[in-house]
Symmetry: C2
Subunit: 502 residues, 2 copies
C-alpha cells in the first residue's frame, strides 16, 4: 500500500490481492482474472413477471458493489446482467407454470406488455438504489437463436435427447463424465426421494433431466419455431447462451441469489460443459437471502413488502419510510453471504449511521492542516482496502469508515492533527469508498434533478481548502463569483451554509 494508490487507480488491480469466496470450491481464493486487468462478470437478472422484490434488490446491490470495487481497483469490467422475459418454471425439476403468460392473462394484456411494465419498474428501482446499469443487459427472447444453436450442439455431443418436440438434458449420461452436483453439493440419488410426478416427467428418461426446449401447447402465446417444432427454451438455457455470447466459453465471475444455486446454476454449468467441453465459470458468488423480523419474507406470511413500499413506508409492518440510500447502506452493513434481517429498529439505526457518515464526509472538506500528523491515515486506508479485498466485506469497511468519521470530528475539535497531505488523503479515502465503492449518494432534498446543493458543497470545500492553504486570492475569488450570481455564504462553528436570492 502506498500513496500511488489513489493517484493511479488503474494500476491498483495489479497491486491489491483480492480474495473471493468461491461457491464452487467453498473456500476464499485469490482472484486472478483470465485476462489481466479485464474482468468478465455475469449476474442472473430478474424474471419480469412481477414487481422486483427486495431480495432481488439486495442481490443487485451486492453485485453492483462488487462491480464498483473491481472498477475502483482499475479493472475494466464487462458486466452482463440478463432480463428473463420468457415465463418459466417454479419447481425444481420441471416446467410448472409460464409465469409471464399467467400474469398476462391476469392483466389481460400481451406477455410482452407484462415484460415491459415490470422491466420499467425494475430499472426504476435499480436507479433509486444508485446501481450502475450493467455493460450489457441481454434478454432471453432476444437470444432464441443462440439458445437453439446451443441445444443443437448439446444434442450433437450426446447429452440431450428429443421427445415429442421437447428436448431434455441427459443428466445420467452427463454425470458419468462431468461432476454434476459439484456447485450445489447435491447428490442426485438423494434428490430422487423428494421428487413428485409433474407435467412432462413421463417424457424424461431420468427424473433429474431438465428441459432445454419445451414444445408449446396450442394456447401458449410465447413460442418460436425450432428444429423440434414450435416451442420455447428451458429456464436454465438463456444464461448459458448469453454468457457464452458476451463473455466467452470461460469467464471470471458469475453471481446470483443463493436460491439460484440449484437447479439453475448447476444446470448452467452442465449445459456449458456439455456444449463446450469445459466449465464456464472460474468464481461463483452467491448472495444470501433476507428475512423480515427474523422470518422468511413471503406473501403468505403477509410480511412481504416491495421496494417502493419500503421507501414510502406504506406497508403495515413499517413505522416509516426509508430512503433508497439508507436501505442501500443498511444492506451493505451485512456481509453479502449472511442473511439480512429487516426490522424497523435496524433500519432506523442505519438511517442514523448513514446521516452521521454523510455529515462527516461533508465536513472532511473543511479540515485545517497542521505541520505534523498525530494519526496514521495510511493505516486507515490500508484497512479499507483490506476489508473490501477480503471477499467484499462491506460491514468491516463501514466500521473503518466510522473510524474515519471519528478522525474527521477529532480533527475539527483539534484533538487530532493532520498535515495537508494527510487531509487530502483522508478526503480521497472517504470520497472514494463512500461514493465510488459503496455507491452511496448524499440525499438531495426534494428535487431529484437539482444538483445545486451538491455543487455548493464542492465549492465550499474548495474555499475551505484555499483558506487552509492561506490562498486568500482564491477564497476571495470564490466569494466574489458567488456574489455575482446572488449567493451568500455564512460561516459558523457548524460549518458553512449558503443562501440564494433570486
Amino acid at each position: 500500500m502506498n500513496e500511488a494508490f489513489f493517484i493511479a487507480s488503474s494500476f491498483l488491480c495489479s497491486m491489491v490481492d483480492l480474495f473471493i469466496y468461491n461457491s464452487l470450491t467453498r473456500t476464499k481464493e485469490k482472484f486472478t482474472p483470465l485476462h489481466k486487468q479485464f474482468v468478465g462478470m455475469y449476474v442472473c437478472g430478474p424474471t419480469v413477471y412481477n414487481f422486483a422484490h427486495l431480495g432481488n434488490c439486495r442481490t443487485f446491490v451486492t453485485f453492483d458493489t462488487v462491480y464498483r470495487y473491481l472498477t475502483f481497483l482499475g479493472y475494466k469490467v464487462r458486466y452482463v446482467r440478463n432480463i428473463t422475459d420468457v415465463g418459466h418454471i417454479t419447481t425444481e425439476f420441471d416446467e410448472g407454470v409460464d409465469r409471464i403468460g399467467a400474469q398476462a392473462k391476469l392483466e389481460q394484456v400481451e406477455p410482452m406488455e407484462i415484460v415491459q411494465k415490470y422491466t420499467t419498474y425494475f430499472h426504476d428501482m435499480m436507479r433509486e438504489f444508485n446501481n450502475h446499469p450493467p455493460s450489457i443487459e441481454p434478454s432471453a427472447t432476444g437470444h432464441i437463436m443462440e439458445q437453439i444453436a446451443m441445444i443443437e450442439e448439446i444434442i450433437k455431443n450426446g447429452y440431450a435427447y428429443e421427445v415429442n418436440g421437447s428436448v431434455y438434458f441427459d443428466v445420467k449420461k452427463y454425470k458419468d463424465v462431468f461432476p454434476y452436483g459439484e456447485l450445489s453439493g447435491r447428490n442426485v440419488d438423494e434428490l430422487l426421494e423428494n421428487t413428485r410426478e409433474l407435467d412432462g416427467q413421463e417424457e424424461k428418461r431420468f427424473f433429474a433431466d431438465f428441459a432445454l426446449w419445451k414444445a408449446a401447447s396450442p394456447e401458449h402465446i410465447m413460442r418460436w419455431p425450432s428444429p423440434w417444432g414450435e416451442g420455447f427454451p428451458g429456464w436454465h438455457l438463456e444464461c448459458s447462451a448469453m454468457s457464452t455470447k458476451y463473455l466467452g466459453e470461460e469467464f471470471d465471475l458469475h453471481g446470483g441469489g443463493m436460491d439460484l444455486k440449484f437447479p439453475h446454476h448447476e444446470s448452467e454449468v452442465a449445459q456449458n460443459s456439455a456444449c463446450c467441453g469445459k466449465a464456464p465459470v472460474r468464481y461463483w458468488m452467491h448472495a444470501n437471502m433476507l428475512t423480515v423480523n427474523g422470518q422468511k419474507m413471503s406473501k403468505s406470511l403477509g410480511n412481504s413488502f416491495l421496494p417502493h413500499e419500503l421507501f414510502s413506508g406504506t406497508h403495515a409492518l413499517l413505522e416509516k419510510g426509508f430512503t433508497p440510500m439508507v436501505v442501500r447502506f443498511f444492506m451493505q452493513q451485512a456481509h453479502y453471504r449472511s442473511t439480512l434481517d429487516f426490522s424497523n429498529e435496524a433500519l432506523k439505526a442505519s438511517e442514523k449511521g448513514f446521516e452521521r457518515l454523510m455529515q462527516a464526509v461533508e465536513k472532511a472538506g473543511s479540515l485545517t492542516a497542521s505541520d505534523s500528523s498525530s494519526y496514521d491515515i495510511a493505516a486507515l486506508e490500508k484497512n479499507c482496502f483490506e476489508a473490501m479485498s477480503d471477499d467484499f466485506n462491506t460491514p468491516i469497511l463501514i466500521a473503518h469508515l466510522f473510524e474515519a468519521v471519528k478522525v474527521i470530528n477529532s480533527c475539527l475539535d483539534n484533538k487530532i492533527q493532520l498535515t495537508l497531505t494527510d487531509i487530502e488523503r483522508l478526503q480521497k479515502l472517504v470520497n472514494g469508498f463512500v461514493f465510488e465503492v459503496l455507491g452511496l449518494q448524499a440525499e438531495v432534498s426534494g428535487a431529484s434533478n437539482d444538483i445545486s446543493n451538491d455543487l455548493m458543497q464542492v465549492i465550499i470545500r474548495l474555499r475551505a481548502e484555499a483558506k487552509t492553504k492561506k490562498d486568500f486570492a482564491t477564497s476571495d475569488l470564490i466569494r466574489d463569483e458567488l456574489k455575482a450570481i446572488n449567493i451568500q455564504l455564512q460561516d459558523s462553528k457548524e460549518g458553512t451554509t449558503w443562501t440564494h436570492e433570486k
Copy 2:
C-alpha cells in the same frame, strides 16, 4: 359534449370524433380504429449508437402526446416503440456504415455495450420529458428469427432475390402490382437520376432495390446465421417484422419522424404488402423536424446540442438552461406537423408561459363558489376537446388553456362567478389536459431557477485557475468531487463543458 365526459372517460372514444392527418392520403381523416375502443400504434424508436438528439425527442414527445390523448379518450392503446440495436445504413439506397459497429470500435467496446449505454441515455431522457414508456419496446436484435421468417415469405411470394448471401427486395416487380411510392410521393424513375454507385449496388437488379438481409464481411461483429449464410437484417425490416408480431398484419397508427418517410416507411409498406398481401397501416403520422435559430440542426454547423445540454445550458448557443418540462411545453406550442425553431428568446417565452400556466393550475384548487356562473365552462371544455381532436392541435389547446388561466385569475379577483359544479369541471378540465394529455408536471422547487450551471461555471473557472498555477492537487480534487456526484468534465479547444448523469 356533456358532463359525463370526465366522469366516464372510457366512453369518450365513442362520442368524440377524432381527426388525424394521414400522411398516406394527405388529408385529415376521421379516425376509426380497426377494433372498437382498441388502438394499435407503432412508432419508430431510436438507433442507439449515439446520444438521442433533440429531433428524436420532439418525435417521441409528439407521439407520447398522441398516446396520452387516445388513452384520455378511453381507448386501450397498445403502443409499440422499437429499439434499433443493429447498426445500419445512412444512405437512401444502400448499406454504408454499420453505425453501432463503428461506434464500438471508437469506444473500444462490444457493440452491445454501445447499445446498452445509449439505450440507458435514451430512457433517461424519455423519463426527463415525462414520456410514458411504450406498452412494448422490442429490439431488432431480439427479433432476428421473425425477420428471417418474413424474408422467406417475401422470397416465396416472388418479391425478393438472393445474391451472394444477401437478399434484396425486388422493387421493379413489386411496383407492377403495388403502389410503390404512394406514401412518400416519390417517383422511382425520377429518383434514378440522383443515385450514386455504392457498395452492394452491383448485386442489385434495380437501383431502388433494398437489402432485406446482408451477408456479413469477416470483420463484421453483429451477425446471425440464416438460410443465406451469416449476416444481418436490413434496416427497414425490423419494423415490419415487429409491428406484425405485436400489432398484427394490419393496424391503426404508425408514427415517426418525417425524415423516415422515405426510404424507411415506404420500404416498410412494401415489405408488409409483399409478405402479407396488404398494406399494414391505416393512418400514417409524421412529426416535423426542428431548427435552431432558423437553421437545420447539424454537427457541422455547430448548432447541434443534446437534450442534457439544453437542460443544463452548457452549449455555447444557450444563454441558460431550460427544464425538461419547459422544453416539453415549448415543443407542444408548435403543431407536430410544423417545423419547430429553437432560440433562447422562444424558450424564455415558453418558460414564462409555462410558469403562468402551472401557477394558475395550482390556484384553481382554491376558487370560491357562487350561486350562478358568469362564464361558460362547458364551451371551454368543448374547445379543448375540439383542438386535440383536430389532428392533435396542441398549440390551439394551449391557447384555450390560457383562456382557462384567465378564467381562474378572474374568478379569484371576483370578476367572474362560477358555481361549485363549474369550478369542479374547470379543475378537472385543467388537470386533465395539462397533466394527463399534455403530460406536463409541476417543476420541483428550485429546478425552474436552476443555478447549477452558474455554479458549474464557478467550479470550472476555479479548476482552470488551479491548472494555471500548476496546483494539480486542487484540480484533481475538483475532478474527484464532481465525479462523486456523477458530473463529468470535457475539455476541448472551445473550453470546458460538463455532463451530469443520474
